[in-house]
């Protein structure tokens, strides 16, 4: 096999752009939490944007290359090193057979994306190579990488080293991070004043933040509009008859700590949701570390669609910039 995992990092998984189509059976889309960074990494090494790469959380792996490849690392500032010599992020570089790819300490962001020319070749399961660890599905044997794992790589792409994504086109959360939210779903269950507080407060990412969802702390608890709980919902005012959870939806169990569901979302459950983070801001969540300050910003559908359009335009600029370097 072309790549041997010497050390796995903290929770390194094989991811691509995900596995749509099975959410109705509780199998979530999975795929890179920061899809923009994953696409950029693939573009830099000449892969299809949806090729499988590695998602590394907080800490990088150590990989021994047994055949030559072009590599790019995007997303979090997690400096790659080839045989100990640092390489820039967001820029493709060559790793020769016998060399070791390792990583320095995390400087900013939360998840780095490693693309390797040809793409990681694990079996395609339900249309994707993404790992869904909770369901032991896809990726490398349905789990995070472990020391000694051997990874196959697909046929070499149109690779070139020294390609770069200009700094102006990279995208990371601000300080505090601002997540734009379309209120809705069970928004009517809380009072107007409580809704204003939700958007006015500054929240912090809790330690319980993973691919399933990000929990936030520090804002005021919700105040519910009184009602007799509907049959089947459960007795807590935050309970609903178990329903589907949209990706990005913000549930607030007990009215205290909001949880934003992400790529490995649980597909449904019995907690009310106050709204949904817009699609354009989902990637940003993947780059937020625990204790990061965050605000939820109320937007309408027109703003959500404009943001989505802007993000597509940004990706087009990356495509143009990478193909000319």
């Amino acid at each position: 096999m072309p790549i041997r995992v010497v050390a796995p990092g903290l929770a390194t998984t094989v991811q691509d752009l995900g596995r749509p189509g099975y959410y109705h059976l509780g199998i979530p889309i999975s795929g890179a939490m920061d899809r923009f960074a994953m696409r950029c990494a693939n573009l830099l090494v000449g892969n299809d944007e949806g090729a499988a790469g590695l998602e590394c959380v907080f800490m990088g792996p150590e990989l021994e290359f047994r055949s030559e490849a072009v590599v790019a690392v995007t997303g979090a500032e997690l400096a790659p090193k080839v045989d100990g010599d640092e390489r820039p992020t967001w820029t493709s570089f060559r790793v020769k057979a016998g060399q070791i790819l390792s990583f320095g300490f995390l400087k900013s962001g939360a998840r780095a994306y490693v693309a390797i020319s040809g793409g990681i070749d694990v079996p395609v399961v339900l249309g994707s190579r993404s790992t869904y660890p909770l369901g032991a599905l896809g990726g490398f044997e349905g789990r995070s990488l472990a020391a000694g794992d051997e990874l196959a790589v697909g046929g070499a792409g149109r690779s070139g080293e020294g390609r770069t994504v200009p700094e102006s086109l990279r995208r990371m959360p601000g300080k505090p991070a601002e997540l734009r939210v379309l209120p809705g779903l069970y928004w009517h269950r809380i009072t107007a004043a409580s809704g204003r507080d939700f958007f006015a407060d500054t929240w912090k990412v809790a330690p319980e933040a993973d691919r399933i969802g990000y929990r936030f702390r520090g804002g005021r608890p919700l105040v519910f509009v009184p009602r007799k709980q509907p049959f089947g919902a459960g007795s807590d005012p935050s309970n609903i008859v178990d329903a589907c959870y949209p990706y990005g939806s913000i549930q607030v169990p007990g009215g205290t700590e909001p949880i934003v569901l992400h790529r490995d979302a649980v597909s449904g459950g019995g907690y009310m949701m106050v709204g949904t983070v817009i699609s354009a801001d989902m990637d940003l969540i993947g780059q937020m570390q625990p204790h990061t300050e965050a605000r939820f910003v109320e937007v309408d559908m027109a703003t959500a669609l404009k943001a989505r359009h802007d993000r597509a335009a940004l990706l087009n600029k990356v495509r143009a910039a990478v193909s000319t370097t």
Partner: protein, 291 residues
């Protein structure tokens, strides 16, 4: 019942058929999701039925959110009456109640429970007015259950008891969710039963365990070779209480690739069911055990 529509961000429409759970709400949600699938509206990427609601995921680059909403409302208006007859299957699921594994787990999380002095099933029996756990199990296994939703995690069925509302079992969820639940635990929360398809966190009360796997990502188990998820919404389940010896034997059968669940095709008619609940459920039992 009044249908409520709401956008879940720029990629989902959330449709609540009713605030409260009922078989009528479930049938309407099931028939509307079938109508959405059949209509092949451009831009729809996922159609997810739930207990008394459903969700459609769409690509707003292909169809504008307001147009998506209009299409769904048009379908709802066209389906003046929800389909009340479905072709489905009835499946017997063996359950080892009060088993050692869920008992060990529930003892570990006693401080998160409403009643730390009793077990989950003792608590459920008491608050539902049963004299004994055995009487509670008799009621639990006495009627069939509808799979009203599949989800939370891969392949997990939510089950709704097919009896009049006044006879329905209701139990609150744990005060704080557990961080662990054994795989194949038979759980209960609100008015829903469930089977945990994988090991993991959970907030439902734990009553027992089934030897029958319902999710197999490797697709090695004989009856999961065609697809890794066993249940689909609309399936009917009949529980069968089993003892330790039967449980062990079934696990051995599963491991040897010889276990085959008892499954029968059946037509379910909601109106006929309501006319005589117990009589109808007896007929379903006869279908299940017919030779």
């Amino acid at each position: 019942m009044s249908t409520r529509y709401s956008f879940g961000g720029d990629e989902h429409v959330f449709v609540e058929v009713d605030e409260e759970m009922s078989l009528e709400a479930f049938f309407k949600s099931l028939s509307l999701t079938n109508a959405v699938r059949a209509s092949s509206i451009r831009g729809v990427t996922e159609v997810c039925p739930a207990n008394a609601s459903f969700q459609v995921k769409f690509d707003p680059d292909v169809i504008a959110p307001d147009d998506m909403l209009t299409e769904l409302k048009r379908l709802e208006a066209a389906a003046a009456k929800a389909e009340s007859r479905i072709r489905t299957r009835i499946i017997e699921i063996p359950v080892f109640f009060r088993d050692p594994w869920t008992t060990e787990t529930l003892m570990r999380f006693r401080e998160r429970h409403q009643d730390p002095k009793s077990t989950d099933i003792e608590y459920a029996a008491r608050i539902n007015g049963y004299d004994s756990v055995d009487a509670f199990i008799a009621a639990f296994t006495g009627s069939p259950w509808f799979v009203s939703m599949v989800g939370f995690v891969a392949g997990l069925p939510f089950l709704y008891q097919m009896v009049e509302r006044e006879r329905q079992i209701e139990v609150p969820k744990y005060l704080r969710p557990r961080t662990d639940t054994p795989k194949l635990t038979v759980g209960f929360g609100g008015c829903f039963g469930c089977i945990y398809s994988v090991r993991g966190a959970g907030g439902y009360q734990m009553f027992g365990i089934t030897p029958m796997p319902i999710y197999d990502p490797k697709q090695e188990i004989s009856y999961l070779r065609d697809f890794m998820v066993f249940f689909k919404p609309g399936d009917i389940v009949k529980w069968k209480a089993i003892a330790r010896e039967e449980y062990d034997a079934a696990v051995a059968e599963v491991e040897a690739g010889r276990f085959s669940p008892l499954i029968r095709e059946v037509t379910f008619d909601l109106d006929e069911f309501h006319r005589d609940v117990d009589g109808y459920n007896r007929k379903l039992d006869e279908v299940l055990h017919a030779h």
